[in-house]
C-alpha cells in the first residue's frame, strides 16, 4: 500500500505528535505549518512535505486542525493498535522501562518480565512478575507477545534474540550494545546508549576545539 516513506520522515513524526499533543492540551484548535515551524524550529516546508507523504491533512487558508492531525499521525505510527510486550532483563533499565505508565497509554501493554538471575525472579514491577528465562518460549506463544525489549548485556543478547525469533516475536526494542541479526520480517529498533553518549562527547570536544 504505502510506497516507502524514509526513516528520516518517520523519525520526525513522534516529535510532531508531541507538539500537537501539547497544543491539544492548550485547547488550540488549528495551526498553520508556519506557526508550527516556529515552535519546532524546523522549516514550514519540511512540515508540509512530511505530512504530504501521507496525504493532505490541511486546508488552504485554514491550516491544520490540531485534533485531526494528531489522530492521523497516531494512526500512521500504528498507535491505534495494541501491542503486548515483554522485557528481558529485569535490572534497573528493565525496571525503568517496565514502570513507564505512558507506554501503556499508547497501547503498549507489559505482559511479563524475564531474567536469568534467581534473585530477581518473583520480584514485581507493576503487578508483573519476573519469570525465569526457561519460561520465555512458552510465554511468548501463549500470550501473543508482539514486542520484546532487550535490556540485557550484549553477551546474552544474540542468543536470546534467536529464541525470540523462533517463537514468533514481531519486533525487538534492543538496548543491548550489539547488532542483532534477525530475519527481515522482525522489526528491530536499536537504542545504543553508549553511542549516544559518544556523540555527546564528540560535540563537547569539537566545540572546545573550535573555541579555545
Amino acid at each position: 500500500m504505502d510506497k516507502d516513506i524514509s526513516q528520516a520522515v518517520i523519525g520526525r513524526l513522534p516529535r510532531y505528535l508531541r507538539y500537537l499533543g501539547e497544543l491539544k492540551d492548550k485547547n488550540v484548535e488549528r495551526i498553520s505549518s508556519s506557526e508550527l515551524s516556529v515552535l519546532m524550529k524546523v522549516t514550514a516546508s519540511q512540515i508540509r512535505q512530511d505530512l504530504n507523504n501521507f496525504g493532505g491533512f490541511g486546508q488552504q487558508g485554514y491550516g491544520y486542525n490540531v485534533d485531526y492531525l494528531y489522530s492521523e499521525i497516531s494512526k500512521i505510527l500504528g498507535l491505534e493498535h495494541q501491542y503486548n510486550f515483554i522485557i528481558i532483563g529485569a535490572g534497573n533499565l528493565g525496571k525503568a522501562l517496565g514502570g513507564y505508565l505512558n507506554f501503556e497509554k499508547r497501547g503498549f501493554i507489559l505482559k511479563g518480565m524475564f531474567d536469568k538471575d534467581p534473585a530477581l525472579i518473583g520480584t514485581e514491577v507493576r503487578d508483573v512478575k519476573v519469570m525465569p528465562m526457561d519460561d520465555l518460549p512458552a510465554f511468548i506463544r501463549s500470550n501473543d507477545i508482539d514486542i520484546a525489549v532487550l535490556t540485557i548485556p550484549k553477551e546474552g543478547a544474540v542468543l536470546v534474540a534467536k529464541v525470540l525469533v523462533e517463537n514468533g516475536i514481531k519486533a525487538i526494542w534492543n538496548f543491548a550494545h550489539v547488532d542483532l541479526d534477525v530475519p527481515e520480517y522482525v522489526q528491530v529498533e536499536n537504542v545504543h546508549l553508549s553511542d549516544s553518549l559518544m556523540k555527546l562527547s564528540y560535540n563537547i570536544s569539537s566545540y572546545m576545539e573550535n573555541n579555545k
Copy 2:
C-alpha cells in the same frame, strides 16, 4: 580547526569503534574497508569516505591497522578526555545509567546524583550518594562537572536545565521527553525513548500493512 563534519558521519563513528573493538579483542591486526563493510553491512565506499573526513588512516594495498584506527576514532570522539558527570533523577533509569561501569572505562566519571524525592536522598549508587536538588548549583561549580544526565519527568526538566546552564554545565544528556532550550555553547543529546518506541510501532504496523 575542523571544518564541520555532518552529524550523520559522527553518528556512525561509535559503531565503527564498536566493531573495531571486537576485532581488537580477536587480535585482528588489519582490516580493509571491504572486509569491514561486509561485517557492518554498509558500503566500503561509505567507510572510506567517512574516515577520510578526518584524514587518511589507511594504506593502499594494506588496509587499516585495527589498533591505530581504533585509537584515532577514540580521539575524534573525544574519548581521551575525562568528563565528570552527574545524574539528575535517581529513579530506575538514573540508577541504571549510574551503574554502567562501561561509561567509566570511557572516561565518564560519575560524581554525584540528585533527586527531589526525600526518600531517595542518601541512598547510593556505586558509592555515589543521592543529594537534594538544593545542593545542585554549588556542587556543579565546586566539582567541575561537565555533563548532566537528565532522567526526570519533562515537567521539571526545563527548569532544571536552566539551573544547569546558569552554573556552567557544558553538556546535557537529556532523557526527559521535552526539547530543551539552551544556549548554543551547551551541547545537548536527546534520548527520547518513546519516540524510539513509536518508530518501532510504525515499522511493525507498516510491515503488517504491506504483507497482509
